[in-house]
Amino acid sequence: MDLLIFQAPILMVQASLDGILLGILFALIAYGMALQWGVMNIINIAQGDLVILGGYIAYTMYLAGIHPAWGVIVSPIIMYFVGWALYKLVINKVVDRDLFISILATFGIAIVFQQLMNFVFGADVVVAQSEYGTTMLFDNSVTLPNSKIFAAFISVIYAIGLVIYMRRSRLGRAIRATAQNARAAKILGVDTEKVYAATFGINAALCGVAGALISITLTLHPYVGLPYTVRSFMIVIVAGLGNLPAVALSGMGLGLFEEFADYILGTEFRIGAVFMLLVFILVYRRFKLSKKREYLK
């Protein structure tokens, strides 16, 4: 039974497409994480909860009778200010401190967000309907929900937009300069405080986009943020910081890996396989790093 995928090769096509579409969405969340990790050296545990909050913004619009797809524009705008406010309230106090402190602080933020969302939106699982229909390939044997295609498409657009923004705009360049060397950037007149706030805001905005997309493709619940944090963390670990093509590739790779693990090992090992991969990658990177150090000595 486990090897159904080899008996029915068409399933491979289905699994690959599912994996890639999902992976692109994860990559968008991971890119936000990589950005602020690179710039501010903060691992944001609340990343997934920002995503879910973004999803609830789209869901609220859906309840008000507006098509939830507009959430991909409204949600990031609101989330930018949420991120900015979070920076001013909490993150600016931990930004230069030990990594452990920032993990603790963002973990706290995650709990507060979960409870607030539970309080405001209730503990029920909710979905927003896009009514986008389904694309069928190969005589209905491979199906692609149009909402997932839409999600992947929007993710790619935002990612490209962001890359251009980072290259061309003044703030984008300031962000990159701060990422390379915060002290040098400061000396050369970059207002790093402002850069940090903007970076955190941009990250939150990306989470908002992803959340709006998740509201129409998957489900929303105040407590499902953590899996998104873990996945984006993994993608960033694999891809490294500040390397968008690598983030996109590793996102898709992770999506593919998950889907195939599901078919070959069974659904119960899906998440387990992801964590095994994480352990393997961490060990491998450490091994590689220690080799490099020897060489540099």
């Binding site: 159904l4 503990a123 979905v127 309907q129 389904t134 209905n140 929900p145 489900t219 599901d262």
Partner: protein
Amino acid sequence: MNKLVKLFITSISAITLALVSYTSSFAKVDGEYIVLGSAISLTGKYSSNGVHTQNGYNMAVERINKMGGVEVQGKKYKFEIIYYDDESNPKRAAQLAERLIKQDGVHYMLGPYSSGLTKAIAPVTEKYKIPMVEANGASRSLFTKGYKYLFAVLSPANQYLEVAIDLAVEKNGGKPVRIAQAFEQDAFSQDVRLGILDAAKRTGSEIIIDDKLPKELNDMAATLAKVKATKPDVLVVSGHTKGALTAIRQISEMKVDVPMLAMTHCDAAKLSKQHGKNSEYALCASQWHKNLSYKDKFFGGGKKYDKDFKKEFGYAPPYQSAESSAALLVFKDAFERANSFDRDAVRDALKDTDMQTFYGNIKFGPGGQNVAKPMILFQVRCKGDNCENKVVAPTKWASDKFYHPIPKWSERS
């Protein structure tokens, strides 16, 4: 100075003593009140169902008190409940149960919401020999531990979907069927799975897909792709509200054609409202439905309960509320038969319960589970965009015919 200190100490001790005697007089029966205790999830991830449970309890307390209360040894008593919020956290629930029993002196408990929390509280009530009637813990493991003070008004989890398999076999002309199943990895869903395994064995049916879904489930596309490739006769999904919503979303998006789809938690997930026509023909297990013809003198029948509940709380009662109300009817009945407030006498009376409530017949098996009430199955049916749950099994209560097989997606408008 010394005198002053002495006076201070004496007065403090006097106040403490007064408080202590007050709390102990608050215990079990206080004047004309019988005090029950319950830890319940008012915040946290079970908060919506916790509130449904609490509303069910409150509704019954008010009704019983209004209609004369509980008569013990010729005197009328009223019910009162002390609630604490367990924050949907099993550890907290166990602590609060201790607190209810030791500090508040509660001698009779009502259950919390969910199997997990009931499992956390049951050892505590058992330790202090406190009878607990619970209405929201269905896990089979609660009834195999030999608990003597635990009584559940609801049917155990393994019975949830057994009927569905029997129904599938019946529709297949009595021949065995091929089953695909996906269950979340938690106590409740795994118990539902055991029930399916039993039913499959009994009917000689074959299980061709047996997936276990992760707790942070949000995507079951892989399982559904397998279902599409293997074409089973029945697809069974159980993963609380998240599982039900995810399944319907992805089944409709991936156009998975199965003749029969059986699930749990459809009503809690508000499936027919959230997914509308896409959820049509889904078969759902439920503990209760307002159309059942059970009756009692407090709430009348299911329809009247539904009406009164709506008037009181402004929404239609889910089965979680109905079963919670039934728990108090059971307590009242037991107190009156025991004709005493002695815990063991009440426990013995509970054990011999054999009654009908608007929620169903109640009679406890040796493990404390309700053995007198069958599970019911309803099917989501739509007229235009308006979807409703219609009872289709068992035949005795059915208001509508079971629609089988589910039409293919290509034939659905």
